[in-house]
Amino acid sequence: MAITLTQTAANRVETFLANRGKGIGLRLGVKTTGCSGMAYTLEFVDTLNEEDTTFESNGIKIIVDPKSLVYIDGTELDFTKEGLNEGFKFRNPNVKDECGCGESFTV
C-alpha cells in the first residue's frame, strides 16, 4: 500500500511549499483526539525522523510516522472546493465511521 496525492492536491502543496520558502514535504498523520477517537493532521516537514516512511506522489514527498501509517495506509489526499471553502480531503479506506463533520474518525 502507499499514500498518494491527486494532481490537484500536489499542485497546491507545491505552491504552498514554494511560498513558505522551506520544507521538504508534507506530513500526514493521525492523533488520538476528537469526537470519534482519531483526527487527521497535516503539516509541513522541515526535519525527518528516523522511523518515518517516505512516499512520493506527483512530485511531492509524503512523510508518515509508523503509528499513523497503520490507520491511513492507502489514503489518497485530494484538494477540493466546497462553496467558498477550500482545502485538503483524506480519502481513507480504513475508516469505519466518521464524526458529523468528518474531522475525526474511527477504524
Binding site: T41, E43, N85, G87, F88
Partner: protein, 620 residues
C-alpha cells in the same frame, strides 16, 4: 467531510479547535478580508468571485441593509440612505468635516457625526460595522468555522478617536480585534519585508479616493513609522474623471444627466484599466438621447491628461521624506499599494523619483489585507516562530497642562508604540490636596492651542508645603495606539487614572495644520511660554510674600510693610501685561523690597530655634 489545511510542524490543531484568524482592510472605497491557509495568505472572495467589497452601505425599507455592489448601485438612486466612504467620518465631529458637498442629513451625538437614514440615526461606527459584518460572514463561510479574531488595518495617521471608533465598529460586528495595524505596515508585512534585518521602506498607497505615503523603518524586527503624508482627496477616481472630461470635450457633449454621467464614468474607468496593458482604448457607448459616442484614447494622451495628477502625489512624498530626514539613497524599497498604482505612468514616475523599481508583484488592491492576515495568523498562535513585533508611532505629542496654561509634553511625536513614560510634578500651593490633570495632544507650547483629550483629578494628596509633594504622572499608549494616563502621589500612593477615549479626534488635515502651525508659530510660542512662565513666577512670589506678611508683619515697621505692599500691587498689575521683561523687573523689585523683611524673618526663626538652648548643645 471537513477540509483540512496544512499546519506548521507540530502545530496541528485538535479537531474543531482551528484558530481561524482573518485580516481586514477596512478601506474608504473598498474593503477586503484575507486569511492564511496552509501558510499562504490570500484574499477571500464572495460567491461571485469578487474579492473587493465596495465600502457602501444602503439602508432599505423594513430594516434591511445592503452592503457592497448592490448598495453601490443605489448611490445615485437613493443617496440619503446610501452611505459611501463612511471611513472619512469615523471618530469625527461635525466641525471636522465639510458637509456642503455631501448628500447626507448630519446630526451630532457624543462628539461624533451621525447620519439620519430611513432606518434611524446611524453613527459611522454602526455603518462601518455593517461592512465588517459582511466580511465576517464571508470569512466564516469560506473557513467553515468560528473566527478567533481579526487584525483590522487603519491609516497610520488615524488618531485615538478614529482607532477607538474602528475597534467599536468591530465589536459591534461581533469581531474580536486581535490588533489594529497601520495600513503601510501591513503592506510591508505582506511583502515579507519584516524578514529582513533592517531597512527603510516607502509605502506609496494610491487608492480609489485617497493618497497616502508612509516611510517605515525596520530595525531588529520592529517597524517604526518615520513619517506619513498624503492627500485625502486624490485617487484613482480622479483619473476616471479626467477621461470623462476628455470624452465630453472631444465628443462635444453638453453636460449630461446622471444616468449618462454614470455610464461615461464607467466607460472612462474601463478605458483606464485597459490602458494599463494596451497602447489605446476604444470608448464607445450609446447615450440616453440616442447619441453614439465612439472615441479612441491613446495611452500617450491618457498620460498627458493625468500627468499633473501623478505629479500631485510627489509633493506629499517629498514632504514625508523631508519629515523623516531622509534622502533617496536611504530608501531600501518602495511598495505600491492601491489599484491606481497599476497605471504604468504612476509606476514610472515613482521609479524615476526613487531611482529603483517599486515592488508590484502582489495585487496592489489586496496587499494590505494580505499583510493583516499574516499578522492575524501569528497573533492567533498558528505559528511557532516568535511573534513578529510590529511597532507604530504616535502622530502627535501627548502631554498635560501645567500651571499658567503651558503644555508639558510627556510622550513626543513619533515615539514608537507601545510606550509608557512617566514624569514627576509637584504642587504649586501650600496645603494643596488635589491636582487637576488635563491631558492634551499637539505640538504647541500653550494648552489653548492644543487639542484637549481628557481631564481628571488626583485627590487626597497629603497637605504639604508647595513643591514638596511628588506626583508621578504616567502616560501609556498600547499597541493599538490607545492612551491611558495615571497619576500617583509617591509618598502616600494615592492614585487616579483615566483611559482616554476622546469624543472626537483630529483629522489628517488638522494634524498637518497643527504641525505646520507649530513650526510657523515657534517664535510666537516661545514668547508666549516666556510670558506664561514669568506670570507663574510672579504669582509664586506674591503668594509667598502674602503668607509671610500674614504671619510675620510684626517684624518690620509700618513704613517697610507699606513699601512692600506697594511693590506687590505694582507687580500684580504688571503681571497682567504682555511684557515678560517688565514682569521679571517687577519680581526683582519686589525681591529687593523684601530683602530686609526676609533677613528679619531669618533672624527671628534662628533665634526661635536657639531660644533656651546652651551653647554646648548647638556646637556646629
Amino acid at each position: 467531510m471537513a477540509l483540512l489545511q496544512i499546519s506548521e510542524p507540530g502545530m496541528s490543531a485538535a479537531p474543531h479547535q482551528h484558530k481561524l484568524a482573518i485580516g481586514i482592510d477596512l478601506g474608504t472605497t473598498n474593503s477586503l478580508v484575507a486569511t492564511v491557509r496552509s501558510g499562504l495568505s490570500h484574499a477571500l472572495n464572495d460567491e461571485h468571485g469578487h474579492a473587493l467589497l465596495p465600502s457602501v452601505v444602503h439602508y432599505l425599507e423594513h430594516g434591511a441593509v445592503e452592503v457592497g455592489f448592490n448598495a453601490q448601485k443605489q448611490q445615485n438612486i437613493d443617496p440619503h440612505n446610501t452611505i459611501v466612504s463612511v471611513k472619512r467620518f469615523m471618530g469625527r465631529g461635525l466641525k471636522d468635516i465639510d458637509v456642503s458637498q455631501l448628500p447626507y442629513r448630519f446630526t451630532e451625538a457624543g462628539g461624533m457625526v451621525q447620519i439620519e437614514t430611513r432606518a434611524g440615526i446611524k453613527s459611522p461606527v454602526e455603518i462601518s460595522s455593517e461592512i465588517l459584518k459582511t466580511l465576517k460572514t464571508r470569512a466564516e463561510l469560506a473557513l467553515g468555522g468560528e473566527l478567533v479574531g481579526a487584525v483590522i488595518t487603519v491609516p497610520a495617521y488615524f488618531d485615538d478617536a478614529q482607532r477607538q471608533a474602528t475597534k467599536d465598529a468591530a465589536r459591534l460586528a461581533g469581531i474580536n480585534v486581535l490588533r489594529l495595524l497601520n495600513e503601510p505596515t501591513a503592506a510591508a508585512v505582506a511583502y515579507g519585508l519584516d524578514n529582513a534585518s533592517q531597512g527603510v521602506y516607502v509605502i506609496y498607497d494610491l487608492g480609489g479616493g485617497t493618497f497616502d505615503v508612509s516611510i517605515l523603518k525596520l530595525s531588529k524586527g520592529v517597524f517604526e513609522v518615520l513619517a506619513t503624508n498624503g492627500d485625502s482627496a486624490l485617487g484613482g477616481d480622479d483619473f476616471d474623471h479626467r477621461i470623462f472630461c476628455w470624452i465630453l470635450e472631444t465628443a462635444k457633449l453638453s453636460p449630461r444627466k446622471a444616468h449618462d454621467t454614470r455610464l461615461l464614468l464607467s466607460k472612462a474607468r474601463e478605458a483606464k484599466e485597459w490602458l494599463t496593458e494596451h497602447s489605446e482604448a476604444n470608448i464607445s457607448c450609446l447615450l440616453s438621447d440616442g447619441e453614439f459616442v465612439n472615441l479612441i484614447l491613446s495611452s500617450d494622451k491618457f498620460i498627458a491628461l493625468t500627468a499633473n495628477l501623478v505629479q500631485k502625489t510627489l509633493s506629499p512624498t517629498r514632504k514625508a521624506m523631508r519629515d523623516a530626514g531622509l534622502t533617496i539613497e536611504d530608501i531600501n524599497g518602495v511598495v505600491m499599494v492601491g489599484g491606481a498604482t497599476r497605471m504604468p505612468q504612476v509606476r514610472k514616475t515613482i521609479e524615476e523619483y526613487f531611482k529603483q523599481t517599486p515592488l508590484t508583484n502582489l495585487d496592489p488592491d489586496k496587499v494590505v489585507a494580505l499583510g493583516a492576515a499574516i499578522q492575524a495568523n501569528v497573533l492567533a498562535g498558528n505559528k511557532s516562530d516568535e511573534d513578529l513585533l510590529l511597532l507604530d508611532v504616535i502622530p502627535l505629542s501627548l502631554g498635560l497642562e501645567t500651571y499658567g496654561g503651558l503644555t508639558e509634553k510627556v510622550i513626543h511625536r513619533n515615539s514608537t508604540l507601545p510606550v509608557a513614560r512617566a514624569q514627576e510634578f509637584t504642587t504649586y500651593k501650600d496645603g494643596q490636596t488635589a491636582m487637576s490633570i488635563h491631558v492634551v495632544q499637539g505640538e504647541r507650547e500653550l494648552v489653548s492651542d492644543c487639542r484637549s483629550l481628557a481631564r481628571f483629578e488626583l485627590r487626597g494628596i497629603p497637605s504639604m508645603v508647595a513643591g514638596a509633594a511628588r506626583i508621578r504622572v504616567t502616560f501609556t499608549v498600547d499597541a493599538d495606539g490607545l492612551l491611558s494616563v495615571s497619576a500617583r502621589e509617591t509618598s502616600t500612593n494615592v492614585e487616579a487614572h483615566i483611559a482616554v477615549k476622546p469624543s472626537y479626534g483630529l483629522s489628517e488635515d488638522e494634524i498637518t495644520n497643527i504641525l505646520k502651525a507649530s513650526f510657523n508659530c515657534a517664535e510666537a510660542d516661545k514668547k508666549a511660554r516666556m510670558l506664561a512662565e514669568a506670570r507663574v513666577a510672579a504669582g509664586a512670589i506674591l503668594e509667598a510674600v502674602t503668607v509671610a506678611l500674614a504671619t510675620d508683619s510684626a517684624l518690620i515697621s509700618v513704613a517697610e510693610k507699606q513699601a512692600i505692599e506697594a511693590e506687590m500691587q505694582r507687580l500684580d498689575l504688571i503681571k497682567e501685561s504682555q511684557d515678560d521683561d517688565a514682569i521679571h523687573k517687577g519680581i526683582e523689585a519686589l525681591n529687593h523690597a523684601t530683602e530686609a523683611f526676609a533677613a528679619a524673618r531669618m533672624n527671628a526663626s534662628v533665634s526661635r530655634a536657639l531660644a533656651g538652648k546652651n551653647l554646648e548643645d548647638i556646637k556646629l
